[in-house]
């Protein structure tokens, strides 16, 4: 029985068992590979997506439970139509290998949606679940602060 998902504003159906995590439904079932696999155990944040505006680890959400509005990195913005957070990421040249960055950006977008003017401490608290093996953390912090400014300026 296909499972129906609401992803980036459109309805999609996936033909996989309902206990398969959302991460793998996106990647293997739908070919939406922007969301990454890093650990499978909620320890790295590479698989972060938003469900109903909240950042979640898609490796921990069973397909059958993913009933809300799902936003993935593909839905946040595209190269010719960037979300402010992505524009800030590019301005600060954050990515190195880039593999963790979908998750970082989704986590940061959720932070800014809830808290448009985060302090350093707020950034620490929100972002510490997202590993970056390339060590891009200083630029991640700078890009989040920049995005907050950009969004304030409208």
């Amino acid at each position: 029985m296909p499972v129906t998902l609401n992803i980036n504003g459109s309805v999609q159906s996936v033909n996989l068992p309902p206990d398969v995590p959302l991460l793998w439904a996106l990647r293997d079932g739908l070919g939406m590979t922007g969301t990454k696999f890093g650990c499978g155990v909620a320890a790295c944040g590479a698989c972060t997506v938003m469900i109903d505006g909240e950042a979640v680890r898609s490796c921990q959400v069973a397909l059958g439970d993913a009933t809300g509005q799902i936003t993935t990195i593909e839905g946040l913005g595209q190269p010719d139509n960037l979300a402010p957070i992505q524009a800030a990421w590019i301005k600060h040249q954050v990515a190195q290998c880039g593999y963790c960055q979908s998750g970082q950006i989704m986590q940061a977008a959720a932070l800014l949606a809830a808290n448009p003017a985060p302090s350093d401490q707020d950034i620490d608290d929100a972002m510490q679940g997202n590993l970056c093996r390339c060590g891009t953390y200083p630029r991640i912090r700078a890009a989040i602060l920049e995005a907050a400014d950009m969004m304030k300026a409208g």
């Binding site: 206990d19 995590p21 922007g34 890093g38 320890a43 960037l82 593999y99 972002m127 390339c134």
Partner: protein, 748 residues
């Protein structure tokens, strides 16, 4: 990034031939070793970077792989500089496996001289060595050599393409090339032509007079260029190997013997086959593959298979392994690459200080787990997608694994989600090819679980070092370092090439023997252990070990001499190598080293000259109620010619974070011959809230003009000793074993 496949479909594969919809410039000879036709320096090996021009702009074929280090951007900038194109018109692709893409930069890594002495020597000194990578088919990304190897070749590729385009325009206008100029992707004369209009004609012209631009008019080299991969990596559209997705594909994972090198005695596939979505369990001899309709089901199934593993041929646990390594001290040293003065005479004067240091095995743990996709087609050809640092070797290993000739295998090298030396072995691609052989006509993507990625890595070796030194009148008079370690190079090259290089093993002592310290008596020995744990090249290789030993010990000597540790180092270095002394002086100024230390804080300094680049770091730590926090870090480096300051800053900070992660909390341990650590909760890199704020200074004094030091690795070696020295400054406690979390409580 453009898609390599699209371009090959437009029938472009032939060197120097015009192609439909685009033109490829290859004015190079591939198989001979002739003098380069463009700059006839005797003995220099002409490489073969390609420039493709079509209506969309310019595509640069980068001979080095993009693992996050920014090399594709820098290599493209070198071409664009000479070719006179706007940055917005430039794309970049990674080259297919080809002899044309030898890494000439590796020549700089194959000498037993200390690096700092090589930087100032004329290039011709290394001419013989430049033939070496060719022999070994080293189309390898590693050794921080990408920019070095590409500096001349990529500029020549751009310049020769520019001159060919001018020659084509000159023919049309009936003038000579010197009456024309180029600008913004056009040749300008009485009429102006877009490059694309001239490309096909130009591809058949071999320009005779190619001059490289004078550095004074460079527009791109030396500037912070927007990375070509940045928009894709900020929108989830970058294609990593793990993102390979083909219609109808199957998804697989492997579980190989965790007692490395051991056999598989038996296994029971039934529990795996009971998992919904699992289709098959395949016997790979020393492990199994599980194939399913999604990766997760394959991983669930693989974990459930009951396997009886045969033993490995190494000791059971870490303690026994360290005992084995320590035994190597009793053997004759394999190398003594530094032996200045007479340490034995000096140390016999008595009153020596001695210390022993121990460091653990480490895993690479790149964010993208190991993976590969393979598709064996009914016509007997194999297509493989795998992020890898050595395409020729990977392609040939895949071909051999499924019994095909190398010409039947197409290997794609997509972007890599980190490498750090961990994508040199072809194993994932080979296993994917073997599984694909069971499903002819169907592509199979094989993804390692994180647990498998850690259990099947090729590790940075554990090592022990014993150092002895003497101080007299506040000055260091002698230092004798001895490192005991299993050789990563012999272990890895033996496995990859069936041949362990004889002679002195530089990798086991680099970072120790080769530092610009002018001690009157300075000896450094390498003792090789025969421990057989599988080893590989880990970011900065031997420097990651010996810089910790040497720079911790220099700190201990400074303390024994009641000297300031930074001044103590400067005094030893000033006469020996001025650019090295200058980076130390620079971090001294940046960090306010001479002003009064803040109460409750500690500071440590460390230095290492590696891969052609001296790097000095100062790290500040603070005792807080929640534990010790790393607050601020200052890095000064001198790569010689700094090609892209933004990329260099990113590499320096990233490499220091990588080193600090390992120093504070990284360790791979063994029990029952298997790696204990299994995922990021017990092999945990530093997180955003744990890293210090960074300030980076880039100096450009090292070597002759045109010396290019590496930037991907040199930021790693000083990190561990800077942290250990800072902790000593903060607490008075000297920790000589890594990771430091065993002795200190960090903020978690």
């Amino acid at each position: 990034m453009a898609n390599w496949k699209k371009i090959t479909r437009r029938s472009f594969m032939v060197l120097g031939a015009a192609v439909v919809g685009g033109a490829a410039f290859g004015v190079y000879k591939v198989t001979e070793v002739p003098p380069n036709p463009l700059i006839p320096t005797p003995g220099s090996v002409p490489l073969n970077p390609w420039v493709i021009i079509n209506a969309d702009g310019v595509t640069v074929i980068a001979p080095r792989a993009e693992m996050g280090q920014g090399i594709s951007t820098t290599l493209a900038a070198l071409v664009a500089e000479e070719l006179d194109v706007d940055w917005a018109q430039v794309r970049v692709l990674h080259g297919p496996p080809a002899q044309a893409y030898f890494n000439a930069g590796f020549a700089e890594r194959m000498s037993n001289e200390p690096d700092f002495k090589l930087a100032s020597q004329p290039k011709s000194h290394n001419v013989v060595l430049e033939a070496v990578p060719k022999i070994f088919l080293l189309q390898i990304t590693g050794g921080s050599t990408g920019a070095i190897g590409g500096y001349e070749q990529m500029r020549l590729a751009g310049a020769s393409a520019r001159e060919a385009l001018k020659a084509a325009a000159a023919k049309r206008l009936g003038v000579t090339s010197d009456q024309l100029k180029t600008e913004g992707g056009r040749v300008i004369g009485a009429r102006s032509f877009a490059y694309a209009e001239l490309a096909e004609e130009a591809a058949s012209l071999v320009p005779s007079d190619v001059q490289l631009r004078d550095p004074s008019i460079w527009r791109y080299i030396g500037k912070a260029m927007p990375r070509l991969d940045m928009a894709a990596k900020s929108t989830g559209t970058a294609q990593f190997g793990i993102d390979t997705w083909l219609p109808g594909m199957k998804f697989a994972t492997v579980r190989m013997n965790p007692k490395r090198g051991g056999t598989m005695r038996s296994f029971d596939p039934k529990p795996a086959l009971a998992v919904a979505g699992v289709e098959r369990v395949i016997d790979l001899g020393t492990g199994i593959a599980v194939v399913a309709n999604n990766t997760w089901s394959a991983m669930q199934g693989a974990a459930l298979v009951a396997v009886d593993w045969g033993p490995a041929d190494y000791p059971a646990d870490t303690a026994a392994m360290l005992d084995t390594i320590a035994k190597a001290f009793a053997d004759e040293p394999n190398s003594r690459l530094r032996d200045d003065g007479d340490v034995e005479v000096d140390l016999a004067k008595g009153d020596v200080i001695e210390a022993e240091y121990r460091i653990p095995f480490l895993a690479h743990a790149a964010m993208e787990p190991l993976n590969a996709t393979a598709w064996l087609k009914p016509d007997g050809t194999l297509e493989v997608w795998c992020g890898n640092q050595a395409p020729i070797m990977t392609r040939d290993a895949c071909a051999a694994a499924v019994g095909l000739g190398g010409d039947k295998v197409t290997l794609h090298t997509p972007m890599m989600g980190g490498g750090f030396g961990g994508r040199t072995d072809p194993v994932p691609a080979v296993l994917a090819a073997r599984v694909a052989k069971e499903f002819v006509g169907t592509p199979v993507k094989l993804t390692y679980s994180r647990e498998e990625d850690l259990a099947q890595d090729y590790y940075r070796p554990a090592a022990i070092a014993r150092l002895t030194g003497r101080i007299e009148g506040g000055k260091a008079t002698a230092l004798w370092g001895r490192t005991a370690v299993p050789s990563a190079a012999r272990n890895a090259l033996g496995r990859l090439m069936g041949f362990a290089p004889p002679g002195p093993d530089r990798g086991s002592v680099e970072g120790g023997f080769d530092q610009p310290y002018g001690l009157p008596n300075y000896r450094y020995d390498g003792h090789l252990s025969d421990l057989t744990v599988p080893l590989g090249f880990w970011r900065s290789v031997g420097n990651s070990m010996n810089a910790f030993f040497l720079e911790s010990f220099i700190d201990e000597m400074a303390h024994a001499a009641a000297a300031d540790p930074l001044t103590f180092r400067l005094d030893l270095m000033r006469e020996t190598h001025a650019p090295s002394a200058a980076v130390l002086q620079k971090v001294r100024e940046m960090s306010g080293w001479d002003s009064l230390k803040r109460p409750g804080f500690g500071r440590g300094v460390a230095f290492c000259y590696s891969f052609g680049t001296p790097v000095a770091q100062v790290l500040e730590v603070e005792q807080t109620p929640d534990g010790i926090r790393m607050t601020r870090a200052w890095i000064a480096c001198d790569p010689g010619l700094a090609m892209d300051p933004s990329i260099i800053e990113a590499q320096m900070t990233g490499a220091m974070v990588y080193g600090l992660s390992a120093a504070a909390q990284g360790a791979i341990t063994f029990a029952d011959q298997q790696v204990v650590e299994s995922n990021f909760y017990d092999y945990e890199p530093l997180r955003l809230h744990q890293v210090p704020a960074f300030e980076v200074a880039i100096l450009q004094n090292n070597g002759e003009f045109g010396h290019i030091g590496g930037v991907g690795e040199p930021g790693t070696p000083p990190a561990a000793p800077a942290l250990a020295n800072a902790l000593f400054d903060l607490t008075g406690k000297r920790a000589r074993d890594l990771p430091l979390r065993a002795a200190f409580d960090f903020v978690t």
